[in-house]
């Protein structure tokens, strides 16, 4: 080994080791005394968080000096790179566009095909023409989105919000009342009252459950276990979790309505026949289907898809790992001024005539779909409307 080559090798290695730790040490000196993460200890989760935050910012912006008008009248406010246009009332022509933040002191209307690339705040009513594209809108009174309107972010109304046919809201929609037309699509909706429009083409389905015999889980009489096995319930698969909870190992598809008197975890699929009464929480690792006219007083959690049949009533949480289906006439309402919530890991489909007091959300979207589309779901769960 030639000495100078060895020395060069050592110097090279030394340099690598030095740099290895030099950059680390330099970084340590930079982060010393820094906050590790932007955790906001005062944060409170609100469904209308974005709209409230925007309203709060607008209040601050309106106190800034304006470029061209007195405080209280039409004016333009500049805030860094943002331009805020304040007007008493505004009616935009069809096909018009704006790239300013709009603050409308009265009503706001825009014709079809408008493109509004920044947020809008209206103190009065707001109506967005068909086929328009907007960023986000907050209004202190009713909001109406025409057919095929696209909202890039959120919509908030302190009154009623009507979302037209085939509208797409890519984030949250919040209001006191939300009405969704056919094919409307939203990421999540929250309101004391959410309704999908009735579908005149769908046959009215007046289901009156007439339950002769029902399966109560856990069994009130262990002696009858053998007879229940013929009806699709194997008591030997039932294992106690705690005083009030059970696990059922395997899929559960009883042939008579189910009356769930304790919390139940089904390791597989579960199909509750029409007229079932689920008094307690039910979870499945697979699919969960609840038949027509059933009543769900507990929470329903499904590892895969979750289906609620015609005119099912629920008063707890619905949570599915995949799709969630709310059939015609489903009604969700919790007592005592509380709200219900339904969340799908992918899509939440609702048919016409669904009423929910609370929140609906989907990892992909919440979408109103026609009754014809629903039939394939019903067949999948052996709940054809003809049968019932």
């Amino acid at each position: 080994m030639i000495p100078w080559r060895f020395a060069l090798f050592c110097a090279g290695i030394g340099l690598i080791v030095y740099l290895h730790f030099y950059f680390s040490h330099r970084q340590w000196r930079r982060v010393r005394g820094e906050v590790p993460s932007d955790v906001d200890p005062t944060y409170v989760k609100r469904e209308d968080y974005f709209a409230q935050s925007f309203r709060s910012k607008v209040r601050d912006w309106l106190n800034l000096p304006s470029l061209d008008g007195p405080l209280g009248g039409p004016r333009t406010v500049l805030k860094e790179r943002e331009t805020i246009r304040v007007v008493p009332e505004l009616q935009m022509e069809p096909g018009a566009g704006s790239s300013d933040i709009l603050v409308v002191e009265g009503d706001f209307r825009c014709g079809p095909g408008c493109a509004l690339s920044r947020e809008i705040y209206a103190r009065g009513k707001a109506a967005i023409g068909a086929g328009s594209q907007i960023q986000a809108i907050a209004a202190d009174q009713n909001v109406e989105l025409g057919d095929k309107v696209t909202v890039a972010r959120w919509v908030d109304s302190l009154g009623e919000l009507r979302i037209g046919r085939a509208c797409v809201v890519h984030s949250r929609a919040t209001a006191q009342t939300i009405r969704l037309a056919m094919d409307a699509e939203v990421q999540s909706v929250f309101a004391p009252l959410i309704e999908s429009d009735p579908d005149p083409s769908a046959q009215e389905h007046a289901y009156l459950p007439f339950v002769v015999q029902s399966l109560q889980i856990p069994l009130a009489d262990a002696q009858s276990a053998a007879s229940w096995k013929k009806l699709g319930f194997d008591n030997s698969k039932l294992i106690r979790l705690d005083a009030d909870s059970w696990i059922y190992h395997g899929s559960l598809k009883p042939r008579v309505p189910l009356r769930l008197a304790a919390k139940l975890v089904v390791k597989g699929d579960c199909v509750c026949p029409p007229g079932s009464v689920l008094e307690q929480d039910l979870k499945t690792t697979g699919r969960l289907a609840v038949g027509d006219g059933s009543e769900c007083r507990g929470n329903l959690v499904a590892g895969k898809s979750l289906y609620l049949g015609l005119q099912v009533r629920f008063s707890g949480i619905l949570h599915s790992g995949a799709a969630l289906w709310l059939s015609r006439g489903v009604h969700g309402e919790a007592g005592g001024g509380n709200f219900v919530a339904a969340h799908a890991g992918s899509s939440l489909y609702m048919e016409a005539g669904v009423t929910v007091h609370g929140k609906l959300s989907g990892g992909k979207h919440v979408k109103v779909v026609p009754a014809s589309y629903a039939e394939k779901w019903r067949r999948r769960y052996e709940f054809s409307s003809e049968k019932t």
Binding site: H20, F21, F23, S24, H25, R26, Q27, W28, R30, V31, R32, G33, E34, V35, P36, S37, D38, V39, D40, P41, T42, Y43, V44, K45, E47, S188, I239, L241, D242, A243, D244, S245, I247, H249, K263, L264, V265, Q280, D281, L282, K283, G298, N299, V301, G316, I317, H319, G321, N338, F339, V340, A341, H343, G345, S346, G358, K359, S361, G363
Partner: protein
Amino acid sequence: MAVLIAIANGCLILTVVVLSAYAIRHYWFTLYRLTLRHPRDFMEVVGFVTPRISVLVPMHNEEKVAADVLQALIECDYDWNKLEILAINDRSEDRTGEIIDEFAAKHSIVKAIHRSEGAGGKGAALLEATSQATGEILMLFDADYFPGRAMLKMLVAPFCDPEVGAVMGRVIPHNTGASVLSALLGLERAAGYQIGQQARFNLGVTPQFGGTVGGVRASALRAVGGWNAESLTEDTDLTFRLVVNGWKVAYVNRAECYEEAPESWQVRRTQIGRWATGHTDCLHRFWPALLGTRHLSPAQKIDALFVLACYWTAPTLVLGWIASLFLFFTPAAHQVPLFAVALAFVGYQLFGNQATFFELGSAALLDGNSRRVYLMPLNLLNFFASTGAICSALLRYYARRISGSQGPGWHKTRRYRAKGNGNLFRNGAASLFIQGANGLYTRNVEAHQP
């Protein structure tokens, strides 16, 4: 000599197999987490699940932090009609008891529990408080933690699933700027929660319930026999008693809570020694039940064993180093073809421990703290210090098992808050809340200034 070489080779192969298995697991988790589009969580139903809850805060000589945690809990956005806070004064010799009494006198939801007798330690304190709790869900916070206002709602949401027995939130050290060690522990915690816990939850294996920033279903706790006051890691003990009995543990990454990380190597040594001992003790007690239970799938069982045996990697690595050194200085061993491969792999683990570092770096990136990845070379210090502390703790543990002697008692981790050196307190404020002339605590605005 041939026998010694064979033994050394055996040790080396064992090291390579064990470390490879853990390395693959680290990569699997990290890649899964990085490619995840829709995390499986209950965030969309937060605020809609509101059972009655009892918050348990065990405290032993916590006068520096007691008021902070109690005030933060009182300010939480949760219906007071469904909330009680059980502040447990566990044989404190400082002002902890007085502070708790002050809060109990002023706020109806705070109940003071004073312990002056019985076994010491967090497990024993929890055992006593649980018997007085009335909530369906028991929430747990250590005294040095600082829950945000939305914390309780976020943690309680997964309990809408009747299979969930326990829920764990995310822990973030607030004092990462205080010392090199706390900065490194910030990285380690980020990897553990942002990657490890979240990936385990999404993959359907078991996230670990950490005994703080979390909750447990009271009926599930009763069904599995309550807290184990004898265990050094009562949280790990409970996690595995729940899962072998059919319950699931959920993880909520968004439920972020500040904690104090150890700032000195000695405190860290004690802490990780306790964890290693408690964890390994759980491994010995639970492995037969884990393998035998019908509630877990084979993948869940394997991962559970990986979790419980994780502290074995340190002595295994040391064994590999010793075997490598022995074989390196034994000319006859150079004829073994496996040696070169094994040495390369162990060297890779030693000087890079790339799988773990990949996890640390990915967690920093996911958290938006990408600059912190530059700190990773310094993690060698933490790595060597932890390896030494774990080996030492496990040696003592096995020596005690063999001799049948009693284990060490539970030691509280030292608090630093009064020094005013944490990030939340960098303006010199000693506390998150200030006691006013009327005796009520108000939020210390200076401590929260960005």
